[in-house]
Amino acid sequence: MAFVEFRNIKKIYGERAVCQNINLQINKGEFFTFLGPSGCGKTTLLRLLAGFIFPEEGKLFLNGQDITTLQPEKRNVGMVFQNYALFPYMTVYENIDFGLKINKIPKKEREKKIKEYLEIVNLEGYEKRSISELSGGEQQRVALARSLVVKPEVLLLDEPLSNLDARLRDKMRAELKDIQSKLGITTIFVTHDQTEALSMSDRIAVFNKGQLIQIGSPNEIYLEPVNSFVASFVGETNLFEVKIVGNKAYVTDEFILSLPKKLDGKFVSIRPQDVILSKSQPLDGGYKGIIEEIKYNGTLIEYTIKCNNIILKAVQINNYKKKSLISIADSVYINIDSQCIKVLKY
């Protein structure tokens, strides 16, 4: 049975439903991610689960118990806020102590636990610091420790990495995942960053405009997007609206893709790494295009190619052996394996 369940949830603000028809089941111990663009209702879902707001329709379950109308302080759901929401007038120790004190845990035990959790989040010796003396990353960890120390049944993380700079973000990403798997706590992680979602999650739910679009493992989401939104939101892609006749997909009248078999759909998605470039004409023909732009980002080289009035993106691994011979304004041949073309219904 699912450990956390959203059953047919709908939330209305004013006249507008900011999320509806939400059905989700999350397993115990899972690292589950809500992914979607800003404003799609991710925070709203977390706040519903934490009990700060209540749904207009539907039910919420936690560990088999209906918690739909339960007050937040009765839910045992831990939340780390986007701005961390540390109490600025308390020290690190007092912040972490807050929830323990409310639970009337004896002082000795509290001290032990706080020490233990400070260790878990790598902040040994920070007890007496005031919040304003901490860096963003450190605040983040205190917030995490404060939520974890009361042993919540589920941990909610609302874009916890969004306030950190890029380098720290990578580090915290690994650390967070590490702590989660060590403690085995069921976690719902909210982000609008697909890289974060793909690299950390056991499963991902993709949202758009208050609707749940797709649930799946990172690999499923990336390789088998259910629609054009997921395909373009998760990972880079070449997305074209097409007309399909038989096993041919017409991007334009000149640019025609052959499909492995007869398929029905309105869009095709081709990942840039599946667009193969070569200087000489391949055996099966291929299309000729002009390189418009080249971007190096270390491991990869990204090309923008203009071909018969359409723009294509391609990437190649930047390795010594294949040392790139292609430069701007070169004409190249484009080859796309029919197996790599993903046809989408809408």
Binding site: A50, E73, M79, L86, F87, Y89, F98, I102, S132, L134
Partner: protein, 556 residues
């Protein structure tokens, strides 16, 4: 280049010296002078004045009463102001903005006018008192509006606004996420209040308590007019001065000042301890909707009553200002109305003089405050002058010194020739009153200018320069636009505060500069209630226009 540097340096030195001259001459020297007078008796150093104050029952009681009055004022205003702030800003409320503006109104109304309005409403023969007596057919008046409780009523009305203002701002800065985090960790409503809401508003509570206490112990209008047998230090000081016991007055002034500053220092220390810097950007709280119908209706009823209570005194003044002279003697309610009182003020030069005096003095005060505040705040905020701390101390000192004390300081300092006054004696001259106003209102002006100057980030000036703006262009297009809202706000506040000023005036006015407040008091004692109220209404009018003006000023 070097020449120009030299010029700048010379003008800098010149301005700083001039500033120090003024601040020392009119703020520091008078304070020290009073101290010196207090520790002298018949030419010798002695503590006899202090002994007299501490050993005479009447004087000692006044000290006790003053402290009691100060503390009770803090308590009452704290409860009222905080409750109102929560009511208006923590809960969902219709007409929130209007109610907020209304609740801020007492800030611009001179205390003296409120006292008189209250006397007319709740005094022995007041409109409300008589009405209640009539309705219930009482032989005796239902309540007595005098003594400690009377003063406290006036203080509650005129001073809750400091708590209301500061706590309102603090409530708006409570972080919604912090509230939710606490709930998330299992906090009950009580814990939420105690551990999250209180810490967020504590600095505001302490800051408000300081200004309320200082205003409370320095209060003069209410005790002098309705205090009756409840004597406080401010009135005792005037009594001593009237009897020309300057040594006695001086020692009382020093004691009063010390009480005021002691509270300031202790609570400032405490305030700094509980003030925190919030690093992350908070999420604004959304007002809580009250869904229970009964609770909501009770709240609305309370609000309506409040609004009536707040408006009533002002309405009273305006209505009574139209009472035809000599027609309202025995009736409970006045019956005949006319413009006679206003006609008298604007046509009889004797009645018109106080009006003109007040306007002239206010303008002199506001202009001189601005002239002195500008370089002072510049030095406080931007310059690296070694005089910085000293100048800041001097300009802010009058903030902690009660008006009656400032008045006595002026008399002690300028009842003989000094180098600061070009060897002139100022007591008895026209200019002493504006100087006293200037001293007491300078801190207010400096505050508003400093805030503007803080907003004027150096980057803006650098940006203007890098865009090729000349010195003059930078001043005109960058510096002035940044400063003028603050300057104008300060200027208007000074005018509003001066126009109905009573305490300093009661100590220092002469026939040549009798201000409107004194004319009003005289009117009351000569049973020309309508005339007095017309003066009051004019002051209220000017205060409102000034306030409207302040609200219109663009804020950054």
């Amino acid at each position: 280049m070097i020449d120009r540097l030299k010029n700048i340096n010379i003008s800098k030195i010149l301005i700083t010296s001039l500033l120090l001259w003024i601040l020392i001459g009119f703020i520091l020297y008078p304070t020290l002078r009073t101290f010196s007078v207090s520790v002298h008796s018949q030419g010798d150093i002695s503590i006899i004045n202090y002994l007299k104050v501490l050993e005479t029952d009447a004087h000692f009681t006044a000290i006790k009463n003053t402290v009691v009055l100060g503390l009770l004022t803090v308590l009452i205003c704290g409860v009222i102001g905080t409750a109102l702030a929560f009511l208006v800003h923590f809960f969902e409320l219709p007409y929130k903005r209007v109610i907020d503006k209304l609740l801020m109104m007492p800030l611009v109304l001179p205390g003296l006018i409120i006292v008189f309005a209250f006397v007319q409403l709740y005094g022995e023969s007041g409109l409300i008192t008589k009405t209640i007596q009539n309705i219930f057919n009482l032989k005796e008046v239902p309540f007595k509006f005098s003594g400690l409780s009377g003063i406290l009523l006036v203080h509650a009305y005129t001073q809750y606004v400091y708590f209301y203002m500061n706590v309102s701002i603090a409530i708006k800065h409570i972080d919604q996420s912090s509230l939710e985090a606490a709930k998330n960790l299992g906090a009950s409503r009580f814990t939420l209040f105690k551990s999250v809401i209180i810490p967020f508003i504590k600095p505001a509570l302490i800051a408000s308590s300081i200004i309320t206490f200082m205003t409370g112990v320095g209060s003069f209008s209410a005790p002098s007019i309705i205090g009756g047998s409840f004597k406080v230090m401010t009135t005792q000081i005037l009594l001593a001065k009237a009897n020309n016991f300057m040594g006695l007055a001086a020692s009382q002034v020093i004691i009063l000042t010390v009480i005021s500053i002691m509270y300031l220092v202790v609570f400032r220390y405490y305030e700094n301890k509980v003030t925190f810097v919030s690093q992350v950007k908070g999420v604004k709280i959304s007002p809580i909707a009250i869904n229970n119908k009964i609770t909501r209706n009770v709240l609305y009823a309370i609000l309506i009553i409040l609004v009536v209570i707040i408006i009533l005194p002002i309405l009273t003044i305006i209505v009574l200002s139209f009472v035809k002279p000599g027609t309202w003697m025995v009736d409970i309610y006045p019956r005949e109305f006319s413009f006679d009182n206003y006609v008298k003020i604007f046509s009889k030069s004797r009645a018109f003089a106080p009006f003109i005096n007040s306007i002239a003095i206010s303008l002199i005060t506001a202009v001189s405050c601005m002239i002195v505040a500008l370089p002072s705040s510049y030095i406080i905020v931007k310059a690296k002058s070694k005089w910085k701390v000293f100048i800041e101390f001097l300009v802010m000192l009058p903030w902690a010194v009660p008006s009656s004390a400032i008045a006595i300081n002026m008399i002690n300092a300028f009842n003989h020739p000094t180098i600061f006054t070009g060897e002139n004696v100022l007591v008895g001259s026209y200019i002493l009153l504006p100087i006293a106003y200037f001293v007491s209102l300078l801190p207010l002006m400096v505050r508003t200018t400093t805030i503007s100057l803080h907003n004027l980030n150096d980057d803006y000036i650098d940006a203007a320069k890098s865009l090729g703006a000349s010195r003059w262009k930078t001043l005109k297009n960058v510096i002035v636009p940044f400063l003028y809202p603050g300057l104008l706000t300060g200027f208007s506040f000074v005018i509003i505060r001066s126009i109905g000023e009573y305490t300093l005036s009661a100590f220092l006015y002469t026939t040549s500069n009798k201000p409107i407040s004194i004319a009003m008091v005289n009117g009351i004692f000569e049973y020309e209630i309508g005339l007095a109220m017309a003066y009051g209404a004019l002051v209220v009018l000017i205060a409102f226009v000034g306030n409207l003006f302040i609200n219109k000023i663009r804020k950054y």
